[in-house]
Symmetry: C2
Subunit: 333 residues, 2 copies
């Protein structure tokens, strides 16, 4: 587990998107985010107090979390200087970068000297089994999307919050870097060896109380040719009892694939459902979660009403409207 | 590339199944298999001449290929003794075992001393890209199965042989250990990191002549919950123009999953087709390949005729009948 509270390192993020990991942590764990550290040239801002390492230390921060993607896949000297300094002051480091902290000799040496831990959450830290498909106790809900980055993680965490408020037993199960940094644990599914993908999802969502829900973070999309294998492993390893369809209605094409169009929600439903029923014959599609951030309030509400009518399923934007109706939709499953 | 000819190491294989890698090599590369080496307790027999290392050396063998699974996932001392001896005599070693040759210090040392190569075909030897989904030139055929181990590799290699005899441009593209040992190259797909699975298939089947066919070795099954993600990556990374449905009609349950039933060929068709058309809208299902080894000749022929009628597709057992009709089915695609 990664020690809290966090100081969020935004580095020299060229824009807000580059710092989306920090944004996710700040949105979901404001309680553990004591401040942000920005370098010259940083164009991202979490709205947290700007702090030096020393100020953050005084404020109680235990871990410097790299909340920004590195340009060109290299940990720059400017970054390294700050990271070494942080280790010398006793901070642990946590990162979801492809380039691992543990592959940087200066960081490894500084961590060793100062007794600090380097958390590379992109790398699996367990040996996962091959999936056995045995039916597990407890309930599982999985978000599946018409595309990547349409709000699957947001949907699952928002539902967990509502369920906890209602006194229900629920755990958000992180399968990506941001989710793992938010919860402090999980499976970095895109870094798992192919043979063990579904097994790692079984490992992440083990037997549980009959009235407990795992809210599994979705990845990729069955319709995204780069990552569909990962989505498939989630659908079969997760044995979901409930699927929530996620969608972003203004996308011009599949993310990163200019020649590919998003499927309709109907196509997603008709494709995901029989595949999920291979692993869990009782699986149901219970709701639709739409990311309407690029629509006006009026357009968003009209769109949500239209989809709800068309699909015959509760349809909400959990960011605008809260996730209550998504949680309601789990009742009786 | 792995140097030929091969001496096939059967070790102490408890039964024929444990030596199925050797069987595949012997079946498809009899020209490069000069003999077999068996230890006491070996119950497998490829029908090749039993040879000592010295005899094989005299017969021209260059590589000792481990054609047997190791018990309990350990390279035993009895094996190691032979492997070291082989290296001392100048043989290269090739292995598809989970336990890597390169992780055995005694083998590494002996290989170094004697200038020999250790080929661990289970480990990717290239850095694969993330799939970009861009349409490639040339044609591709992929075998998809109702289950694992229903004859997908056999079907693809048998088709390659027929196509070469007819003077057609074709390459069997190996995605598993046995296939890689047979062809000397390929992608060990089940050992690839999740994010790069589809990209590794794109890498394996690049742009080619318009009249060239890649015959891609299938893996797993969309209906096998342990490995379906790997199958999905093949379907999207492979951009197949033609799918061949593979089936073994006597299976009582999905391989290794006693609680799961095989789907029908119709269900496989209706599931695989729309998924393949995401990556290649022109993809067609062209034929059915059935492994009838557990049926009598009469029963097999009756079954094949029944499926052909029911599915409206050429249906053959390439082992009994040859792969000619499967190749015919590619015409016009």
């Amino acid at each position: 587990m990664i020690q809290t509270p966090y100081l969020l390192f935004l580095g020299d993020a060229p824009d807000a998107l580059a710092a989306k990991v920090a944004q996710g942590i700040k949105d979901w764990r404001p309680d553990v985010s004591v401040g942000q550290l920005r370098l010259p040239g940083c164009n991202a801002d979490m709205g947290l107090t700007d702090m030096t390492l020393a100020e953050a230390k005084t404020a109680g921060a235990k871990t410097l979390v790299i909340g920004v993607a590195n340009r060109g896949g290299v940990i720059s000297d400017a970054w390294k200087k700050v990271l070494v300094e942080a280790l010398e002051m006793g901070f642990d480091l946590a990162s979801g970068l492809h380039n691992l902290l543990r592959d940087e000799p200066t960081l490894v040496a500084a961590a060793q000297t100062n007794g600090c831990t380097l958390h590379d959450v992109r790398v699996p830290n367990a040996s996962y089994p091959i999936a056995n498909g045995v039916k597990r106790s407890g309930k599982r809900c999985l978000a599946v999307g018409t595309d990547c980055s349409v709000g699957k993680m947001y949907t699952a965490i928002a539902m967990e919050r509502v369920m906890h408020k209602r006194g229900m037993k629920a755990d958000f199960r992180a399968t990506g870097q941001t989710g793992i940094l938010i919860t402090g644990s999980g499976v970095p599914l895109d870094a798992v060896i192919a043979d063990f993908m579904a097994g790692s999802v079984e490992y992440l969502t083990p037997d549980n109380d009959d009235d407990h829900w795992d809210l599994i973070e979705g990845q990729g999309s069955l319709f995204h040719v780069s990552y569909s294998g990962v989505t498939m492993a989630l659908i079969h390893g997760g044995q979901p009892d409930a699927l929530i369809l996620c969608h972003e209605p203004t996308r011009k094409h599949m993310r990163g694939l200019p020649d590919y169009q998003q499927p309709s929600l109907e196509t997603l439903r008709d494709t995901a459902m029989p595949l999920a029923q291979v692993g869990n014959p009782d699986c149901k599609i219970v709701a639709v979660s739409v990311n309407t951030q690029h629509l006006s309030e009026a357009d968003a509400l009209a769109y949500l009403a239209e989809v709800e009518e068309r699909m015959g399923l509760p349809t909400v934007d959990p960011f605008r409207q809260g996730a209550d109706r998504l949680v309601d939709a789990l009742e009786g499953v």
